[in-house]
């Protein structure tokens, strides 16, 4: 009956060092999974789920999302990657590796009889100092931020991904897309909505032939072949109701005595919809996008009027189009008196051109030159589904990075530069503190080095030597700023296996990404370190 020893609970319980070690092990094994995918020369993972679907990816968040982790501490790390993905969009792998390293070192300290609370407060202190130091010395000021820097940031993020070799091409696409969707809010703040960039995937050709299209694209086709393929000066009606034969509701019964009445009834069913369509067309609409179905019998009215009608357009796309073209999503056409139906021309959105184009083995409808806000579409080409999916994920990461860079206007050097600089600085900082937190801060500093070390290991370079050289550079720059001018940006060039000035070399990341990943990693490590007791209750038995 009871397994919990003296406590007599229905389940198992572990306390103290056992739990800590177990949690640490779980976290480290999660981190080990993603470890080899860090950095420009990181490798990909192939994940096969229980249905047999294959995902090939290098993105930490995606890998962890697909893993079915059972251990609670492991789950905390997976959530951590997810959080980083939501808040920043990139750096998901490094945040997990860092958190696991912090935990590992924290656990070693506990074994040396240092109380977890002291370690926790040490980590918190170190984090605070690290964030302060990044903001003070490591960021690259806003005035130096130009388009070329954004392209660099995008390329840095892409480098580690499958599109690395084509990063020149894709970085240009990503930067242009994000810059084009710049919108100003009524309160004056500037936003770069990620959702305004639509990504469409089409099989065939090579990834170099991916293009950026100014306008919104939807992955749908015209409803009938007789419709024109292109309309300029389009007036777009956005409908959110069925254009099908009108059906009577449940609870309404049709009783006819005369068979001819039945025919008339059927005719009327059609006519109700026909009248609707004619009202819409009369308002001047020549493009009709409908979120629901359009009956085949109704299509002829559109064909006769020379309009494009598209059915089953996803509702989210419709909303976006409504915003971009200044139209309104119409739920019902009832007029203010409730007596009749009308279609107000002001509900129509307008765009310079709406056209259907062949792409790969399918068709795509483009809505170009939208009047209200800019919408951008990236059409990705590639050999197969997995490749396209991975390209989409990589592009998404880069778009996020550019968005952050644009919104916060500060960059830091990549290639392990920030981590090494912080590590050197924190070690100095620790020795100025005479309290028990000192040890924890030193460990925090050591833990940060896991990033450059993993980067070097993944690139098959001599990690020990490279990291040592890197630390030496940073030490010079911090002890003697005059002599070490520019050395605070020193990072690793992993292909050549050299220490270079990453900022000049074009390896940069948004500062906010680094700050947040440090913060999240520390929070996750603290959350797990605080646990000293794990109670696992037996699953409830299903009643037979």
């Amino acid at each position: 009956m009871s397994e919990g020893g003296m406590l007599a609970i229905d389940g198992s319980r572990e306390t103290g060092q056992d739990v800590r070690t177990q949690n640490m092990m779980a976290a480290v094994s999660i981190a080990n999974i993603v470890k080899s995918s860090l950095g420009p020369v990181g490798l990909d993972k192939m994940l096969v789920d229980n249905v047999g679907d294959v995902t090939i990816t290098n993105d930490g968040a995606t890998i962890l999302k697909l893993l079915d982790v059972e251990h609670p501490a492991g789950k905390v790390l997976c959530e951590l990657a997810d959080l980083q993905d939501q808040e920043v969009g990139d750096g998901t792998t490094s945040v997990v590796i860092l958190a696991a390293e912090l935990l590992k070192r924290g656990n070693e300290l506990v074994k040396q009889r240092i109380h977890p609370t002291s370690i926790i407060s040490g980590y918190r202190l170190a984090l605070k100092e690290a964030v302060r130091y990044i903001k003070k010395t490591l960021t690259i000021p806003m005035s130096k931020l130009e388009r070329s820097n954004l392209v660099m940031a995008a390329k840095t993020s892409m480098n580690s991904k499958i599109i690395g070799p084509e990063s020149d091409h894709f970085a240009e696409i990503a930067v242009s897309a994000m810059q084009n969707v710049r919108t100003e809010r009524p309160d004056g703040s500037v936003r770069y909505p990620l959702k305004a960039v639509n990504i469409i995937k089409a099989h065939g050709r090579s990834s170099r032939e991916s293009v950026l299209v100014d306008g919104y694209a939807i992955n749908c086709t015209r409803a009938a072949q007789g419709m024109p393929t292109s309309i300029s000066n389009a007036k777009i009606a956005l409908l959110d109701f069925n254009l099908a034969r009108h059906k009577l509701k449940l609870g309404v019964q049709v009783l006819v005595k005369d068979p001819r009445e039945l025919e008339a009834l059927q005719q009327r069913e059609l006519d109700i919809t026909k009248e609707k369509i004619q009202t819409i067309l009369k308002s001047g609409a020549n493009v009709i996008l409908c979120s629901k179905g359009i009956d085949d019998v109704c299509l002829k009215y559109f064909v006769e009027a020379g309009a494009i009608a598209v059915r089953r357009v996803p509702k989210d796309d419709l909303r976006r189009i409504a915003k971009a073209t200044g139209g309104e999503l119409v739920l019902t056409m009832a007029d203010a008196d409730g007596a009749d139906e009308e279609f107000d021309p002001s509900w129509l959105g307008s765009a310079g051109e709406v056209s259907e184009e062949r792409l790969g083995d399918g068709e795509i409808i483009y809505i170009k030159e939208c009047v209200k806000t800019a919408a951008q579409t990236v059409v990705l080409r590639g050999a197969n589904e997995y490749f396209l999916d991975e390209v989409e994920r990589s592009l998404h990461d880069s778009l996020c990075i550019i968005k952050r860079a644009l919104e916060t206007n500060t960059l830091v050097a990549g290639g392990g530069a920030v981590e090494t600089a912080l590590s050197v600085h924190l070690e100095d900082y620790a020795s100025t503190l005479g309290t028990r937190e000192q040890l924890a801060i030193v460990e925090f500093a050591q833990a940060l080095l896991v990033i450059p070390r993993t980067l070097a290991t993944n690139a098959a370079q001599d990690a020990t030597e490279l990291v040592a050289r890197l630390r030496a550079k940073h030490a010079v720059s911090q002890q003697d700023p005059a002599q070490g001018e520019g050395m605070q940006y020193s990072g690793l060039d992993l292909v050549a296996g050299k220490v270079v000035n990453c900022f000049e070399y074009g390896i940069v990341e948004p500062a906010i990404s680094k700050v947040k990943s440090l913060r999240f990693a520390t929070e996750a490590a603290v959350t797990i370190l605080r646990i000293d007791d794990s109670i696992k209750l037996n699953p409830r038995e299903e009643p037979q």
Binding site: S2, G5, M6, L7, A8, I9, G11, R13, V19, N23, P72, K75, V76, E79, L83, Q86, E87, I114, H115, P116, T117, S118, R124, F241, H246, L248, K249, L250, G251, V252, Q253, V254, L255, V256, K257, A264, L265, R268, I272, A322, E328, L329, L331, T332, A334, A336, D337, G338, A339, T527, R530, I531, D532, D533, S534, I535, K536, L537, N538, P539
Partner: protein, 527 residues
């Protein structure tokens, strides 16, 4: 039950001593389980519930309520922590730890051959004396002394995961609780009825805010043209549906000619328009619609009309929330359209849809109604943090409630327990016979709180306890463990205060449970 079943119904009889022993052991095991989560530097527990859900918490009541204990004595400890939660809302861990320590001391007393009844009586006396002593070292507080209240709430929050944000949460807890009571008249606060805590993922805990009104965790009905911001709102709350009426199962609408189809369509439009117009005529510009199971509460048509009339619509309001909403906004729920008149409407200065993190919420602020209700919108980066933040906030509310119930504060940091140990030790010497022995043991048991607090903070417990004893013996009644600096200091200067009621209730409840377990000498399993 058949006659002569006396031997059958009483399945298991254990020896008196064994029963007491096993009860005490089981209860002590529970106390040991939560011991490490006491105090500002306490550790967390990770509990995987029977449905697989994981929670990480530091709140004693939550930990115990999630643990599935089998032993009856262990269950008593669970309900002990629950009653402390109900009575005081805070100190749920300390009450269990205290009970565990008292039980341990009774074990020693029992082994010396003192009769359980004598111990129980002596403990009763000791706990009464303890209450008196505590009152003598407390200080009164006025409810308009906001600073002192915030300080008390901060002390309670300091042991939680969210302690880093206590400067945000403590004032919120104080303001929320004070708003729902009449400080001069009330002697209790109904927290669950008057304070609504709404969780929304996204942002950080620092973004948590107090809303004088309502927060709906949903967006307004998404129809283009519908307003998302209404100033000087007139709020209507309806419990009827704005959709085409349905016939009963037995009845049918019969269509026998094609013109009738048009009529049906037109009638539906007219019917709904009539409802909407009636609502509009009353002056309403924000409409809350109760969730309906039998029929659609709204349909496309009515949303469209309401959007055209510039009425903001919030659908799917839960039935349970109706009362809270009507008290907050000052509106009367309307069950039929005929009774929808202007006097049923509530008012607010602003109703606005705002986007927060990943989702959108509708905020109703500036309600004119005199009803004393508030909503706290809790933000956090993930569900675990949100859950813990809500539990911590609840504790902070309870602290303020305690102060409303009993307007006295006492210093924290184990100072009261140390003082009690000293004073009760003196008191014991005035007692005759075996009682003296028992009360002395009781006094020593109370030192478990400073001991555990020091241990959890990574300090040396023996050093701390001896220093604490010394200072109290010198008459510094307010000296306690300053966990942050890791030493003993005068906590009155540090402003670490907690409500007197929390400590009193913890001591009296723990003593009661101990006495009850002592007096139990038989365990009978009835099947």
């Amino acid at each position: 039950m058949a006659a002569g079943g006396s031997t059958e119904t009483l399945r298991k009889r254990e020896k008196e001593k064994d029963v007491r022993e096993s009860n005490i052991l089981a209860a002590k095991a529970v106390a040991d389980a939560v011991r490490t989560s006491l105090g500002p530097r306490g550790m967390d527990k990770m509990i995987q519930a029977d449905d697989g859900e994981v929670i990480i918490t530091n709140d004693g009541a939550t930990i115990l309520s999630k643990m599935k204990c089998m032993h009856p004595a262990a269950k008593m400890m669970q309900s002990l922590s629950k009653s402390q939660d109900i009575e005081a809302g805070d100190g749920t861990t300390s009450v269990v730890v205290l009970a565990g320590a008292l039980l341990r001391s009774t074990q020693q007393l029992l082994s010396k051959g003192i009769h359980p009844t004598t111990i129980a009586e002596a403990f009763l006396e000791a706990s009464q004396e303890a209450e008196r002593i505590l009152e003598s070292v407390s200080r009164p507080v006025r409810l308009d002394d906001r600073e002192a209240l915030i300080q008390a709430a901060t002390t309670s929050l300091s042991s939680k995961v969210v302690s880093g944000d206590s400067q945000v949460l403590a004032p919120i807890a104080v303001d929320a609780t004070l708003r729902v009571i009449d400080p001069s008249a009330d002697s209790n606060v109904d927290i669950d009825e008057n304070i609504r805590v709404v969780q929304q993922v996204g942002g950080t805990i620092e973004d948590t805010e107090l809303v004088n009104g309502l927060v709906f965790r949903k967006k307004g009905a998404a129809v283009s043209g519908a307003p998302t911001r209404v100033e000087n709102a007139k709020i209507g709350l309806i419990q009827f549906c704005l959709s085409a009426p349905k016939t009963d199962i037995e009845n049918n609408v019969v269509v026998s000619e094609y013109a009738a189809m048009d009529r049906i369509l037109r009638e539906e439009r007219k019917y709904i328009l009539k409802l909407c117009k009636k609502i509009k005529d009353s002056g309403c510009n924000v409409l809350l619609i109760q969730k309906s199971i039998l029929r659609d509460a709204v349909n496309d048509l009515s949303l469209h009309f309401l959007a055209k009339m510039k009425i903001m619509v919030i659908t799917d309001v839960e039935r349970n929330d109706i009362e809270f909403i009507s008290r907050t906004a000052g509106c009367t729920p309307v069950a039929h359209v005929d009774s929808f008149t202007a006097d049923k409407l509530g008012s607010a200065s602003l109703v606005e849809e705002v986007s927060l993190g990943s989702g959108r919420v509708v905020k109703v602020t500036g309600c004119e109604a005199k009803a004393s209700t508030v909503t706290v919108l809790v933000r956090g980066s993930n569900k675990l943090v949100l859950g813990e933040a809500e539990r911590s906030l609840h504790d902070a509310f309870c602290v303020i409630r305690c102060l409303v119930k009993k307007k006295f504060l006492i210093v924290g940091g184990a100072a009261p327990e140390a003082e009690l140990a000293l004073q009760l030790g003196k008191f014991a010497k005035t007692l005759p016979g075996q009682k003296q022995f028992c009360v002395k043991a009781y006094a020593d048991a109370l030192e478990v709180i400073p001991y555990t607090l020091a241990e959890n903070a990574g300090l040396n417990p023996i050093e701390i306890i001896t220093e604490l004893r010394r200072q109290h013996a010198e008459g510094i009644t307010t000296s306690g463990i300053n966990v942050r600096q890791g030493k003993i200091s005068d906590l009155a200067e540090e402003n670490v205060y907690q409500p007197l009621l929390v400590t009193i209730s913890a001591i009296s409840l723990a003593s009661e449970v101990t006495r009850m377990l002592l007096k139990t000498d038989d365990l009978v399993g009835v099947q």
